[in-house]
């Protein structure tokens, strides 16, 4: 019976798969002798000259869970840095520290030092509202407001008082849509609800909405995971263009995407920043064993 034999073969493969999956665990147990700290110490070039954001010894706890463990990293100006790693490794948590979105989670506690342009963003006198105007964010699922396309983009400038007149607001909205590569597609449908656009258009609308506030850094949390390959390609092109004016930190599950859009790549594992370096180096010649396992597809 063909089906039965196929299944038998599958079982055989599965057993060897199991061994491979356990590789990660084995690394942990074998390095236990050296001590956890050293095993997970970041390798690669975590620091750069004149960073826009610098993170030192960042720890995040959700209640009793230690989600981010002693991460230090710099984000350079006008670079795209991608965060990769298996699910639950803390990469999303990490970039949500950079605009203090973790503040909205009551049990979250962020320690360590994060500086934006040299100023600590967790200092008492820092207003998270102002910070989020400087560090914009694009989320995993396109989340336009249930308002018109125009109102979606105009909302940020409006609450921050960026436009003094309707004409100025129009300028900001149109140029933001244009920079997000969306203007030609939606110029005749500005009054239609943003939620009526296609998924890829919605995500570009969210990007337009973010850049309308003119931030210094844009955080992107898996911006393409809900999109088809064509929409993904458009967003990737857009990221390349946006790099001229903004620094971008992007979380992605797709290593190909990280390789295509980013100049530097950071690999996270179980809350540790394992390795960071030039993207091509991380993918072709990783230093750390865990990074190698991940980029060669053995874990993750």
């Amino acid at each position: 019976m063909p089906l039965g034999s196929k299944q038998a073969g599958f079982i055989g493969n599965n057993e060897s798969d199991l061994k491979d999956v356990q590789l990660g665990k084995r690394v942990v147990s074998s390095t236990d002798q050296i001590g956890e700290f050293e095993a997970f110490a970041t390798v690669g070039e975590a620091t750069v000259d004149d960073p826009i954001i610098s993170i030192r010894h960042c720890n995040v706890h959700y209640g009793d869970t230690h989600a981010i463990k002693d991460v230090s990293l710099d984000i350079a100006r006008n670079e795209v840095i991608s965060m990769i790693g298996p699910s639950g490794c803390g990469k999303s948590t990490f970039i949500r520290c950079l605009n203090r979105m973790n503040d909205t989670i009551e049990t979250a506690r962020v320690d360590g030092e994060i500086r934006l342009d040299g100023d600590s963003i967790y200092a008492k006198e820092v207003d998270p509202v102002l910070l989020r105007a400087r560090v914009g964010m694009v989320f995993q699922k396109p989340n336009p407001f249930p308002k018109s396309v125009y109102e979606n983009v105009a909302y940020g400038p409006r609450i921050h008082g960026l436009a003094r007149s309707r004409a100025e607001l129009d300028d900001i909205v149109f140029s933001s849509l244009d920079r997000a590569g969306l203007y030609s597609e939606v110029k005749s449908r500005l009054e239609e609800p943003g939620t009526a656009l296609s998924g890829g258009q919605q995500q570009r609308l969210c990007i337009a909405r973010t850049i309308a506030v003119n931030p210094e850094v844009i955080l992107m949390d898996e911006p393409c995971s809900a999109l088809d390959p064509i929409a993904t390609a458009k967003i990737e092109d857009l990221i390349e263009e946006l790099r001229e004016n903004f620094s971008i930190a992007i979380v992605t599950h797709s290593m190909q995407q990280a390789a295509r859009v980013s100049q530097r790549t950071a690999y996270f594992h179980m809350g540790h920043l394992i390795e960071v370096g030039a993207t091509d180096k991380v993918f072709t010649n990783p230093v750390h064993r865990l990074t190698e396992d991940y980029v060669t597809g053995r874990i993750g």
């Binding site: 989320f139 249930p146 940020g156 939620t195 969210c206 909405r209 506030v213």
Partner: protein, 436 residues
């Protein structure tokens, strides 16, 4: 993984046979489940239909009322013997005598004390008041002779509507054989007919069924609803927003939440007792006032509004909040610009359904003295007043036959109110609902 739980794959044909064998039972259970559902729906529809036909069948006749045409002579000697035309003199006069004279003119053959009294009884006491009002409003009527339709007594009305069993012995029914003969004579002369009962919609309560109406009770209910809505909606929405969006998660907030949920299930009469002790005994607000009623109903509705508003807020996708916060909106801006507009239809629906429940509430109103006999419709929320359900309760208790149809008619009006409120809830939801 030493102890393996893995077994060899079962034979395919065997598996198929097992699945096929189980199919029949599964389909049978599905059919039984569907049949049970259909039976449940049919039963409930049947009960609702029965309820409505019963109420409508009993109540519709209250919307018409028997009137008798009398030739009234506005006798100056009776109304204004001193000839002053002063309002005090006009309103103190014996208008019943005018009615009596007119009846006597119609039936000259009726003599004797008991017969004339019987004859007078076919006309409502309200007829004299109506003549008085007419005369005071227009004194020029005095001395003239007019053909007027005046209210018949409620028992005559019942006879006209076919609710009197003429087969019964004369002493076991309220309409005597003599009266029946007169009514039949009036009918031949086309001096008696059923007309639209406007009194029912304009009058307050009365001992005489033909003079009673629901206006005082409806106005009281309206005042209470306005007060209840004005208090419970903003308070409930504000509380819900605070609890959902701003309150820290700790033991105290949990305690408050549990108590709000429990309060929604507290019997309404308890809220009546609370209102009695707090608003009337402690704060000294007047008894029987719609203000107190509205306050009590607001307290009663508040938990419902809070719960409905909270679930409406929770239903707003968190991604919308994240989007707004990520753009640098403050929490208040996030709530007022994005969460509230999206949650509002749900909040309104919950509030209106809570209000509809409050509208039909009787028990707490009994505790704060709204069970009084109210003739005059209240002009302010501080005037003594009744409420629609209380009025229904009072009429249902009255011995007169004519109050039976009025009870059903008042229930119809209350149901109409509820229907309008529920329809507006649906309308608001569809109008303001936005999709995302």
């Amino acid at each position: 993984m030493t102890d393996s739980v893995r077994k060899p794959i079962a034979n395919l044909d065997e598996t198929r046979a097992l699945v096929t064998a189980s199919l029949q039972g599964r389909y049978r259970r599905e059919r039984i489940f569907q049949a049970a559902g259909v039976v449940a729906v049919l039963l409930s529809v049947g009960f609702v239909l029965f309820f409505f036909t019963s109420i409508v069948g009993k109540g519709y006749s209250a919307f018409s009322q028997t009137y008798i045409k009398l030739d009234i002579y506005f006798d100056p000697a009776v109304i204004d013997p001193r000839g002053t035309r002063a309002v005090e003199d006009l309103s103190g006069a014996n208008y019943a005598a005018l009615v009596k004279d007119a009846l006597q003119g119609l039936f000259p053959k009726v003599t004797g004390r008991s017969s004339t009294r019987e004859l007078r009884r076919i006309i409502s006491n309200g007829a004299a008041y109506a003549l008085q009002d007419m005369t005071v409003a227009d004194p020029r009527l005095i001395g003239s002779r007019r053909s007027l339709w005046v209210l018949a007594d409620d028992e005559i009305d019942m006879y006209m509507k076919g609710n009197v069993d003429v087969e019964l012995d004369s002493d076991r029914r309220k309409v005597s054989d003599e009266q029946i003969a007169w009514v039949e004579q009036l009918r031949e002369d086309e001096r008696i007919e059923l007309r639209f009962n406007s009194t029912f919609f304009t009058a307050g309560d009365s001992r005489d069924p033909e003079l009673s109406g629901i206006w005082a009770a409806a106005k009281g209910s309206l005042f209470m609803l306005l007060i209840c809505m004005g208090l419970a909606f903003p308070l409930g929405v504000a509380a819900a927003i605070y609890l959902e969006e701003f309150a820290p998660r700790n033991r105290w907030v949990d305690l408050i939440e549990v108590n709000i949920n429990n309060l929604a299930a507290v019997p309404s009469i308890v809220f009546g007792l609370l209102g009695l002790s707090v608003f009337i005994n402690f704060l000294g607000l007047p008894r029987s006032a719609p203000l107190v009623g509205g306050l009590v109903l607001a307290l009663m509705t508040l938990p419902t509004v809070i719960i409905a508003s909270r679930s409406a807020i929770t239903a707003v996708p968190p991604s919308i909040r994240e989007a707004a916060l990520g753009l640098g909106a403050s929490r208040v801006q996030t709530v007022s610009h994005h969460v509230l507009p999206l949650a509002l239809p749900g909040m309104l629906t919950g509030a209106i359904l809570g209000l509809a429940r409050a509208l039909g509430e009787t028990a707490p109103l009994l505790m704060i003295g709204m069970v009084a006999f109210i003739v005059e419709a209240p002009n302010t929320p501080l005037d003594p007043s009744s409420a629609l359900p209380v009025q229904i309760y009072l009429w249902a208790d009255s011995p007169e036959r004519a109050f039976v149809e009025r009870t059903s008619a008042a229930i119809l009006v209350l149901l109409g109110f509820l229907l309008v409120m529920n329809a507006s809830a649906v309308w608001l939801r569809t109008k303001f609902e936005r999709r995302w």
